[in-house]
Amino acid sequence: MSVDLSQFYEVFFEESFEGLDAMESELLGLEPGTPDNETINTIFRAAHSIKGGSGTFGFNSVSEFTHVIETLLDQIRDGRRLLTQHQIDLFLQSVDCMRDMLNCLRNNEEPDVELAQPLKLAFEKILNGDETPGDDEAPSDVTPATSTLDTHWHISLKPGIDILKTGNEPIFMLQEIAELGDAKIAIDVSLVPMLNAVEPDNLYLSWQIDLTSQCKEEDIAEIFDWIIDESEIEITQSSNLVDNKDDAGDRLPVETENTQDSKPENLTNASTESSAVVTPPPAPKKEATQSKATESSSIRVSIDKVDSLINMVGELVITQAMLTQLTDGEFDKSKLASIQEGMAQLAHNTRDLQESVMRIRMLPISFVFSRFPRLVRDTSKKLNKKINLVLRGENTELDKTVMEKISDPMVHLVRNSMDHGIEIPEERLATGKEETGTLTLNAYHQGGNVVVEIVDDGKGLNTDKIKSKAIENGLIKESDDLSEQQINELIFEPGFSTADEVSDLSGRGVGMDVVRRNIQALNGSVELQSVKGKGSTFTIRLPLTLAILDGQLIRVADHIYIIPLINIIESLQIDPSKVNNVGGEYDVLRLRDEYVPIIRLHQAFNHQADCSKLTEGLLVVVESDNGKVGIWVDELLGQQQVVIKSLEANYRKVDGISGATILGDGTVSLIIDIIGLVKLAGLRKAVRVNALAGKQDAGAR
């Protein structure tokens, strides 16, 4: 029978990533010494499952790597070894390493085993270092080069005739023997009866085995543990000992656990390896592939969510049955009131059902938050800063897709706060602050949005430095008189390069402009507040879900489009006296303190418009990624919640369009992608220039 194992891969990857997350968070809470039983068990179990699964599904690179980790963890678990800080660090690094390997495999790439090699060697070193010198009868799979003496064993195996029926398979045992060393196996068929007397369930075979190995008698006996009572087994040592240094390396891995079981005294020299030199594994190759791979395609849903869904469907069915009954047979005016009532009930059911379905995709933000303790720990170490991470609102739920996409911008902002915000301990003490800085991640719901705050109590943004940088890069002029807030917000401008502030951490070639663009791509926004000497707060606001959005329906000729409500600042009729044409290229509306470039939607989309004069239509002012822009349309229609459908699934990406939806009358309507539209209209630069001009004018007053 053939079973296609690949159908289980995705489940395996998911549970492995969960296991790695659990490992990581438990490791972060570990102190050197003898760890708490439950904690180390959880870590062990995760490694053990990954090893078992990867072996079964044929991911040998992973199972081989996990093997050394599991071995060391087992020794720690059994109290045969003290846990050192060095080991904790190594375990954490291996979590990253396994994650990378699994990510590669998930993307159908072969993981680079070389990357895991330094870590593997470091573990092997620890495992070896623990062996008592001269303890040559306890070989280890991880020390193939150790010079030890081989022993010749002769094994006579005559299994009980019934062992097959109890699930014991001699072939497995013979394989295990072969793994111990160099085995010559001879089969004895003399007891097989005539064919007519053969009972297929009985085992008539016996074996004579010559084994050359460094193992001990117990190692061999252990293989037969299960059948020893009903079988005849003799293990004898044939005298000659051979120094077998050279071919030891050819041997298959051998386990040492059982021999070590009897030597708890190893504990005494357990912590000596903490001084071992380890080459840290290279940083993950491509961050891009990593984030891509974490967008998984399945979801785990709690039972109560499913139950509530089933309840809703139950109600829906009842309502439907009621309506069917009412409309069956002769129609009678007296039924009208009941039908209306039924329709209202149906609307109510549908809304509830929609909410419940949406809840399925909602997951607590702790899935994202959980990666920060590690990040903060590692980063503060690197920066020689003391930082206490506080997580709040971890149970705040948001859409899975939003969650997957918010993670990278958050990492960037957190790194930024640690790098540029929080001061080194001396500096903090000198300014009368606690030595340890505090970084708070806070999540909560507000209206239809989820808000995530990244708060630090550091030195705040360096407004003077930002200003001079912005002048240097031509974003503003020396003479411009901007408020502190306006200057601070310049860090989100695309041209604001922080080249000479680039550190290993926050300056990874990605600027704050990218952070803002990524968040805006999710129909969200990011704001900052900073108080000099006190700290700064970045506030990310995102829609709860990407599956539904509140839309403003607009019309251009006979085309109906949808503009996401979250982008809309206001809609107005244009006062022609406030419109200027810039260089014959585009029109700008002066709107209070600001200049707003105008996009004529019909031109950008190549439609015939009803209105020809600017005064006739309406201007919808929206927030683009780097400033305001006005979209000129024929008419504003209603607002409604729309379910987002993919246009790319059956067609392709369309410039200026983010997706489609189906309106109440069954027709398709396209959803406008503001940033894409600005690009399509060739106004990207114009929007920024005018936005800045507005800021400067405002500052001048």
Partner: protein, 164 residues
């Protein structure tokens, strides 16, 4: 044959597929500018009457827009415009053939506007004249071969990557 009958035969065709698999291939045939064309019936999902659809801004002229196919957004291509045929008009009998085809290495569902649907024909491999010399005809990349049924000639199409 009307649309309902043809849709019924589409269902049937999937049932009979096994029996015919070795010898025959079934084609749904349709008319464009007086010629009869055929597409592999297994790719055809359904046939609907033409209805106005939502225009996609800045798309090629042969892309009529998108329509709602039971909740899925499906692009509609006027095959007549795509093939540069004359008289691409919309009338009572203009239909949209909904097909599943490969585009940019993905399966996509699209609607094809044609003048009218004609029939379902089972053709033996031997009845198909594969890739005749068609010179520099711009549509030759979509022509799989020519088939002969009774006295009619069918132009058999392979519409993968119909979007350029």
């Amino acid at each position: 044959m009307n649309i309902d009958e043809l849709n019924a035969r589409l269902v049937e065709s999937t049932v009979n597929e096994q029996d015919y698999f070795d010898e025959f291939q079934q084609y749904l045939t349709f008319l464009m500018n007086g010629e009869e064309y055929g597409v592999d019936i297994l790719r055809v999902q359904e046939i609907r009457g033409w209805e106005k659809c939502t225009v996609i801004p800045n798309s090629s002229d042969y892309v009529r827009g998108v329509l709602n196919l039971r909740g899925t957004v499906v692009p509609v291509i006027d095959l007549r415009v795509r093939f540069g045929l004359a008289n691409a008009e919309y009338s009572q009998i203009t239909v949209v053939i909904v097909v599943k085809l490969r585009q940019d290495d993905k399966d996509k569902i699209m609607g094809l506007v044609v003048d009218a649907v004609s029939d379902v024909h089972a053709l033996k491999r031997s009845q198909i004249n594969v890739s005749p010399e068609l010179g520099d005809n711009q549509n030759s990349e979509f022509i799989q071969g020519l088939g002969q049924v009774e006295n009619k000639m069918l132009i058999l199409l392979d519409l993968n990557n119909i979007l350029d």
